[in-house]
Amino acid sequence: MNDTVVVLTIAGAIGAGTPLALAALGEILTERAGVMNLGIEGMMLIGGVFGIVGATATGNPWVGLVLGALAAAGMALVHALLAVGLRVSQIVSGLALVIVGTGLSSYLGKIPEPPLTDRQAVANFHDLFPRQLADLPVVGPIVFGHDPIVYVAVALAALVSVYLFRTRPGLALRAVGEDPATADANGIRVSMVRYVHTALGGVFAGIGGAYLTIQLTGIWQNGITAGYGWIAFALVPFSGWRPWRAIAAAYVFGALTNLSFTLQIVGVRVPSQLLAVLPFVLTIVVLITISLRQGSARNLAAPAALSVPYDRERR
């Protein structure tokens, strides 16, 4: 019963959706502060390469995860320095980050002896729950059959949601993203909030990238994220900048990334490109729908000050 296509697909979707969810949650924090970071793909690649270095060097996947998170946070801080500090266009700085991340991760992957690309699977995470629970019919593989990071991602979605909508710092964060001049007048340190949440976005993307290489692929290859960072970026507007919607959508998008194999098993031939394109098409459709109904869907719209640099002298 646990081997049925439906159960396997759902369980697989949760695994594949987890790095997407992590990166998207981070980007929600960043964008809620009014900073758009297009560099997720680059940060995930850096997280991925450092993740595997940490995991292979110590044999402990958690070390890899932390190393990946820190490295990607460093990248995010570069973006913050440019976009918040120097008021460079956030789009330009974010895209440059993708280029740097792609080049740097590929270069670093070839430096160790033997190169990371020649190494076999590394120490990965074990399932959190005992076998007996994971063997339960249907709910076993779907609910209990995962490694700890899957549950960490769910917990983070809850945390980010509570933080955004139920705490004072979360309120300050949203104020900075909606109307930085007013936030500033209320004594909120706009630049500080933006720096911190851009760095946090990097931490989340780095964890996502490290999880991808340590757990899902088990190996490093150039450009291993293969567009995961861009799907995570799409998840943010798709979810209306909301954490719970983002993680749910991440599982759906995760399912789409490996659904074509599943469908082949049951004898349905759908071109993989058609499924792969769906996240992007759906995001366009959602955006246009929201802009068609300005009134009722306004609370799903982008933060008003998104990607607008804040210049105190010009408020």
Partner: protein, 370 residues
């Protein structure tokens, strides 16, 4: 009572020509220095690597030709980005518009090559590329102009739709574009020889001349035409433009279509001049994204874009020289990214003076982050 530090940022007047040339130059040297540190730290002598890179990018006629060929589509994607940025419209869809241009152009070249007169086939393919790119941009242009749907996200998403469309044509189906004789090793069908772009100097094809001509034309249009004036006014203030009677939504649609058309031309030139087939591997190399950054560091000035794109393209070709030294050539991508980041940062320092002032704590205001 301790003194606190306060970072003061003050705008400069118009920077002198000397400063304007010096600052980007120093930024590029800075990128090279960071790269040198990384090379040295990983056991490769930087001096030797850089000498070889320079040699293989600009050291001989052949090297220069290779660099100019690589620069050609990059000049066009940067121009595509620049024209929209003038109006503060962010078209980050040049990547996808380029693919659509390549699909349309290779389609016409495959159709007409060998049967139509060569000039007709080439011009037809170029025009098809322009239309393909413009049409793809129009998908984002109308929602942006009439519904105010964020063009950053829609144009970005459309890049992936275009990418998967191109991949589908080559890898996922037995389409008109696919080489049916090599089904196990998917490849685009090669266009007939007579549709290759004619060369002007050694292997340098006419695409480079076309790109420079588009740069000149755009420079003139943005500087001296009413259209260019409208673009600037709308970019600075939509209400002012509306008050002056300008058709804001219509201009938005047009600027995005023109932007997409130029990106589509880049795809057409790339297919007819370089890849000679719809090859996802040779087309999907991030030219649209790099073009955006090139446009930004050139301050959207069409005439500055040409040398900037040539410099960045030179780096791409420098990669081959490194393999001889057993240096992973991925360092060139990193250097490109670093150069673009640092030049973008230098832009700020060009227009603002940053100094650190010390003052007693009693009068210190909250230091604004640099």
């Amino acid at each position: 009572m301790t003194a606190t530090r306060r970072v003061i940022v003050e705008p400069r007047g118009r920077p002198s020509l000397f400063t304007r040339v010096l600052v980007p130059f120093v930024a590029i040297l800075g990128a090279a220095a960071i790269g040198a540190l990384l090379l040295a730290a990983t056991g490769h002598p930087p001096g030797e690597a850089y000498a070889n890179m320079l040699e293989s990018a600009f050291g001989s006629d052949l090297a220069i030709v290779r660099t100019l060929i690589s620069a050609t589509p990059l000049i066009l994607t940067a121009l595509a980005a620049a024209v929209a940025f003038r109006m503060k419209i962010w078209n980050i869809g040049a990547e996808g518009q380029l693919y659509l241009g390549a699909i349309a152009a290779s389609g016409v070249a495959l159709l007409g090559g060998g049967t139509w007169p060569a000039v007709l086939a080439i011009v037809g393919a170029l025009v098809a590329g322009v239309i393909g790119g413009a049409g793809w941009a129009a998908l984002a242009a109308f929602p942006r102009a009439y519904l105010r749907t964020d063009e950053v996200i829609t144009t970005l998403m459309l890049n992936f739709v275009a990418l998967y469309l191109m991949n589908y044509l080559i890898f996922g189906s037995k389409s008109f574009w696919r080489d049916k004789e090599r089904l196990s090793f998917p490849s685009g069908r090669f266009i007939p020889d007579d549709t290759f772009l004619p060369t002007v100097w050694l292997r340098l094809h006419i695409g480079f001349v076309i790109a420079c001509a588009v740069a000149l034309l755009l420079w003139w249009l943005l500087r001296s035409s009413t259209w260019g004036f409208d673009l600037r006014v709308i970019g600075d203030s939509v209400p002012a433009a509306r008050y002056a009677g300008m058709q804001v939504p219509r201009t938005i649609v047009w600027v995005l279509i023109v932007s997409g058309a130029i990106a589509g031309l880049a795809g057409a030139v790339l297919v007819l001049g370089t890849t000679h087939a719809l090859q996802p591997g040779g087309l999907a190399i991030g030219l649209g994204y790099t073009g955006i950054v090139v446009a930004a560091v050139s301050r959207s000035n069409p005439l500055t874009i040409v040398p900037a794109a040539i410099l960045i393209a030179g780096l791409t070709n420098a990669g081959t020289a490194l393999q001889i030294l057993e240096v992973p050539n991925d360092i060139v991508v990193l250097l490109q990214g670093l150069a673009l980041l640092l030049v973008a940062a230098a832009e700020f320092l060009l227009h603002n003076r940053v100094r650190i002032a010390w003052r007693p704590a009693s009068t210190a205001e909250e230091a604004s982050a640099a």
